[in-house]
């Protein structure tokens, strides 16, 4: 990587950290967007704690999606699980086609307001990219490599742990990245059911017709998404290098 992009990312990171810890420094910038002397900077809670809560929700949901989707992906690519492939594909697809907002609407009566319905929606929404990438990662492992592994007397478990998963890892990680980035944006709707998160800032802006609030919420989410995506991409590159794959 050349120095240019790294500097840009560093600048974005510094901007994000300063903004969520000392947002009042940016008040002059946002003042022109307010009317009737409304506050220029979100004042109904700390941006820092909202950001941390937002990240916490997204990462716990992503972790759960990853564990379930990767496990399912492994299972349906084994000879014993092959027959469940179409079924699990459609199940995971339903998770994706069902709008997250509808999931919230259904989940609230069942589990109540707050964190939980958001976690459920993000979890379901995050399954598909990870599952699909796990499948494509595992199925693109060369049959010759697997034949050789089997022919040399590697057990099923070793073939999975030492050959298939390492070779599929970069693709699986790309699925996880996709899922996390989508969730970072999607998580904002959780604030409609009283989950703590950056959606609160945007909703407060909508309710009080304060453009400055909307922009702040949007800006923090966007910076988070860009930086997280970059960081995870770096992890993918590192994994690919470790696995002897030429950087693509």
């Amino acid at each position: 990587m050349s120095a240019g992009p790294i500097l840009w990312r560093l600048a974005a990171l510094v901007l994000l950290v300063v903004f969520i810890t000392k947002p009042e420094l940016f008040a002059p910038l946002f003042e022109p967007l307010t009317i009737n002397n409304a506050p220029a900077i979100y004042n109904q809670g700390s941006l820092l704690s909202l950001t941390l809560a937002h990240l916490g929700t997204v990462f716990s949901a992503a972790l759960a999606s990853a564990i379930i989707a990767v496990t399912l992906g492994i299972f349906v690519t084994r000879p014993s699980g092959l027959e469940f492939l179409p079924l699990s594909r459609s199940l995971v697809n339903i998770g994706q086609t069902f709008p997250p907002i509808a999931v919230l609407a259904i989940a609230v009566p069942l589990v109540g307001f707050g964190e939980k319905p958001t976690l459920i929606a993000l979890f379901l929404y995050g399954l598909l990219p990870i599952f699909e990438n796990t499948l494509s990662g595992l199925t693109q492992v060369s049959p010759l490599t697997l034949e050789a592994a089997k022919g040399m007397g590697m057990s099923l478990r070793r073939r999975l742990m030492e050959v298939e998963l390492p070779l599929a890892l970069p693709v699986i990680l790309a699925g996880i990245r996709l899922s996390v980035v989508i969730s970072l944006g999607t998580a904002t709707i959780g604030s409609t059911v009283a989950a703590k998160g950056l959606g609160e800032v945007i909703i407060a802006g909508l309710q009080s017709n304060n453009m400055a609030f909307i922009l702040q919420g949007g800006l923090v989410v966007a910076l988070l998404a860009v930086l997280t995506s970059d960081a995870l991409m770096a992890v993918e590159r590192f994994a690919a290098r470790k696995l002897g794959q030429s950087p693509s």
């Binding site: 050789a148 592994a149 002897g244």
Partner: protein, 323 residues
Amino acid sequence: MRPSISQRVRSVIEIQSLTKRFGDTVVVDDISLTVDEGTISVFVGTSGAGKSTLLRMINRLIEPTSGRVLIDGQDTMAIPEDDLRHRIGYVIQGYGLFPHRTVSENIATVPRLLGWDKKRIAARVEELLDLFQLDSGEFARKYPHELSGGQQQRVGVARALAAKPALLLMDEPFGALDPVIRHKAQDDLLAIQRRLGTTIMLVTHDMDEAFHLGDKIAVMDQARLLQYATPAELLTRPAEEFVEKLVGTAERPFRLLALGKVREAVEPGAATGKPVSASATLREALSQLLWMGREKLPVVDADGTPLGRISIGGILAHGRQPA
């Protein structure tokens, strides 16, 4: 050709009435044969003849429908399949090297599965890199995608030989190489096999390869074994018309000459010109005589001692159909 000291040759691989059916199709039909220790048996036949299936039943990648395979008298079905495969080297066309492992790590695969200690593995890897003329400093830490086709092939064979298997199965191991490298790779394999005394069963659809490498050649067609014999027997006493056709009637005398050595056709007397080595094949000697426009040339052995001469007439007598 192998010396026929039959008492000393222990039979390693006995294939007894081996049969494989997929549904109603018979892919390997009641094949029996014995592969002697330290020899190369080559399985030839057109594509779809069942060669790969036969080979894959030996290391149990395919379970036979019926019949048995014995290794040193032991039924392979009595050995747990992974243990069996640790004892049998396996090389396939394209090799299937692990793309995420270095050359060293690839070669170390079976010793690692067997739980050898690190020092022993490292020493064995060094030994094999050396044997296959891969400079350890240059290649040990390379990944397969950084190697040429010929280098990948050598790593594939080195990996298969790492745990000193009693038997090496090779399924079209030269199929992915271009013709120039292929011939050299065949010579290298032959030299290594003679040195290590490994028993090899090799599948190919290339007749030249079969004659080049085989101590014995098994001709297969449509799931059946048509003939299993030495190259010379295959040429002079083909069991069926199909074998004769496959061997190539036009090539026959030349293949036969390629099997004989100058040593066997030396005549007394002198001749002038560039001497021919006694260890050259008759085919090479004939080609030299024709090219130089000579009737006769002197013959010398490895250290240059004159042994006599060789003549076109004498060579031709060796390429003739036996009476």
